[in-house]
Symmetry: none
Subunit: 207 residues, 4 copies
Amino acid sequence: MSPRRRDAERTAAARERRRAEILDTAAEVFARQGYAATTIRQVADAAGMLAGSLYYHFDSKESMADEILSGFLDDLWASYDAVLAEGADARTTLERLVEASFASIHRHRPAVVMYQNESRHLALNPRFAYLAESQTRFRSMWSDLLTRGADEGAFRADLDASLVYRFIRDTVWVAANWYDPHGRLPASDIAEQYLAMVLEGIQAPGE
Amino acid sequence: MSPRRRDAERTAAARERRRAEILDTAAEVFARQGYAATTIRQVADAAGMLAGSLYYHFDSKESMADEILSGFLDDLWASYDAVLAEGADARTTLERLVEASFASIHRHRPAVVMYQNESRHLALNPRFAYLAESQTRFRSMWSDLLTRGADEGAFRADLDASLVYRFIRDTVWVAANWYDPHGRLPASDIAEQYLAMVLEGIQAPGE
Amino acid sequence: MSPRRRDAERTAAARERRRAEILDTAAEVFARQGYAATTIRQVADAAGMLAGSLYYHFDSKESMADEILSGFLDDLWASYDAVLAEGADARTTLERLVEASFASIHRHRPAVVMYQNESRHLALNPRFAYLAESQTRFRSMWSDLLTRGADEGAFRADLDASLVYRFIRDTVWVAANWYDPHGRLPASDIAEQYLAMVLEGIQAPGE
Amino acid sequence: MSPRRRDAERTAAARERRRAEILDTAAEVFARQGYAATTIRQVADAAGMLAGSLYYHFDSKESMADEILSGFLDDLWASYDAVLAEGADARTTLERLVEASFASIHRHRPAVVMYQNESRHLALNPRFAYLAESQTRFRSMWSDLLTRGADEGAFRADLDASLVYRFIRDTVWVAANWYDPHGRLPASDIAEQYLAMVLEGIQAPGE
DNA sequence: CATGAATGAGTGTTCATTCAT
DNA sequence: AATGAATGAACACTCATTCAT
């Protein structure tokens, strides 16, 4: 490998690292303050640079949001697909999906918060059409699973299907709002307890 | 009662009605688009007037948000206080609180959505200090109830208390994002099903 | 006519007058400094208002340029069409067209300057497609006339046709750069002298 | 001559060549898009380098414009001075000046276009004071020539002197806007035909 | 009560320019 | 010579707000 080649690789990698740093910072600020309420100057401050300098790395505020959200969704679906590919029974699959979701919150907490707070608004923009597509795919994945679970006798059949779907969906994602990656409980413990609540309820047994 | 007096009352009442109309409209637009992403012109358009005219009724955009949120919270706490005043056992109280919450979503859906999406951001402003106070009171109310329920043997004691609190809190409020006041399921039915899920879990019994 | 109707008319007319005033001012500044080199603040200053206030009347800087140029071209073609409709011989038609052109410079001097300096640049924008269309129509109008004049024996046939076209076109329009509506020579006198030069040359007769 | 000395000369010459290349490129882009509407990045792109790299060769965007324009004007005046030094009669001098002007357009087309479109704007800057000086000198050269020609009986005396001056000036320079160095007609042919039109007019003889 | 014209601070973005490498 | 990251001033434009009518 020529020295010049190594240089190019080093700088390309360095640039990528800088972009990722800035993007993480931006995601945190967007998550904390809301995308619309955040100015590009605030993002730049948090990244230790001037507003104009951001535009050396990114086209626009919108493209930052785009990269943040699509990065999260790509990663999320990769982990979901891995779970689904195992072909386990409905009960096991549900557990693994919830675990995968909390693991994803662990890795992309700010992006998940943005996803929840901004996606309705952003989805109006054709550039963010993938948000609606992801939601559709998400819904059919869970609906299929819940139906299958009811057929397999694993899940109660006396509940409204779409309510159960929303219950699980919301219950998991909303946790991104308070989850602390450095907190007392690791994501896997939280997933375990959430599964206990969702599957068995909070009522004392035998009650 | 003099005619002049009657006139004054009529116009005062009419003004109050107009304000309430505008406020409902504003809450809907804020809920749909996000507070920061909504312009006063969009609110005015939706209310059938020009932007400047809103200022005859309201001091500022902020004061609209203030009235919307505080109106919701006042109503919510009134209904919570009524439930708590009954002094029922923990299990019954929990049921009544969840029912009251869904009833509140029914009456104040856009305000609830705003509360969820904007309160973190708005709470930085001293004017909205009551948002944080409400949250604190909310937390202690539920924590006390859950502790009491565990002592009474009504709720499981093997779960992390703060996780259970968040589970219940989020599970209820996030429903405002999709709840449709004119939809298939009335708020009371949704409350009933949510209670079934939260208390007994979605797992088939005997499983 | 009801008073309200009269009010509406008066205000609509007043608004139109204000728009026209601002547009005239903008055209002058654009002509003097160049469109790209002129800031919206400079236009606003010249119009005696703040930059933001311009946007109450106009959508964008671009739409100001659009109105200025299309207003000029509409007027120009109306006067050209009137000349052509007369169906005079080539020599007379040429005289009338040149006179009409100088009259147009008199009425729209800043717009003509903009047309010359900016149209190549603006025409890249689909919104300004009419600039290219106008130029095409202009060229065929003059080419037809010059050909007819040569056929009628009125114009020399020993010159390159496209050079003659450009000679006349440029010779007339470039005058907008120095023409002064309040100057010593009225537009009609200038037209007369230009025609003398273009038709007979500047060489002393019999030379 | 030492090898080091030869190296220095070679690199100095190479640098000069690179500067000239870049300057030609810049002139073309400035002429096509307008000076103010052209970004330094566009110039750099066209020159096959990055924006920052231009600053190794040139102080500023302005200094590029300066070199382009002054280079053109120096060359122009050298050729004018050569014509004037011959001391020919007015008619011949006029012909030689027009030929020299078209030859100059041939060599410096983009610079001439810039001169026409940008000089009014640039001349406000003290650095470009020479533009106004050149124009003054240009005007007096032509005025003297036209006066002398009228005295010598070569040019018509019934025309407004300043109109004739502008007529000739504009007529020649505006051709830079469409002149194509690789086109059908060489500059000398265009000069010849222009002289025919300017001197004898486009009217058929005897008409 | 409402309008419409205007304000002025602020927004996302651009761009000429700098400079360590 | 050239790169690439950054600067900082300026730009077109937005928007909450004001106020005379």
